[in-house]
Amino acid sequence: MVQVVIQQEPIDITRVTADAGTDSDGAVVVFIGRARNNSNGRTVTRLEYEIYDGMAHKELRKAAEDASARWSLNSCIVVHRYGPVAIGEASIIIATSAPHRDNAFEAAQYIIDTVKEKVPIWKKEYYSDGSSWIHETE
């Protein structure tokens, strides 16, 4: 089961976590990317994500499907937000499940790495005195 959603609303972490995993799975890995209150030494007051709607969805689904096939996942759920995201809120959640844990871990890491490299979504950080687009990965 591969499920990919791009939405403006806050992410329902409880629901995504509950939907991940089947009775054949010994491992569920959930990665939650959160809006941090600081970046390169500056205080961040909020984030805003811009997306290339159709293409972001396509690339995100490709990442999730590739990971599912490569690591034999039984479930793979990815939700990414766009628009304003408050500090402490989740901007992305990735939930992977597999019979054994190494696969679930590797798949989740592959997906977040791919998001940060290929999925056309951009983060703008707002500070007390301005804002800037973030162009590099961590």
């Binding site: 901007s91 998001v115 979504i121 162009h135």
Partner: protein, 81 residues
């Protein structure tokens, strides 16, 4: 021929539009379109080195040629997650 340009994030701000139709000569390359845009939107120059391109939602290089009706998206390195 007509093509559609989409600009995102810092490129959108530098160009001052998020979407625009452009009439260009047949067989034009991505790079040539960008040079055209740069003439009218000078602040694009600062971003040139790291720009990414997609034609009809597929990543492409700047030597790709455009066809009538294509949508060319121009954007900086992504930073989602």
């Amino acid at each position: 021929m007509k093509i559609k340009i989409k600009a995102f994030a810092s490129v959108r701000e530098a160009c001052g539009f998020d979407e625009k139709e452009l009439t260009v000569s047949d067989g034009i390359t991505v790079k040539e379109v960008v040079l055209l845009l740069e003439k009218s939107h000078g602040s694009l120059s600062d971003l040139l080195e790291s720009l990414l391109y997609a034609i009809n939602e597929d990543y492409c290089h700047d030597d790709a040629t455009l066809s009538s009706g294509d949508t060319l998206a121009i954007f900086p390195p992504v930073s989602g997650g």
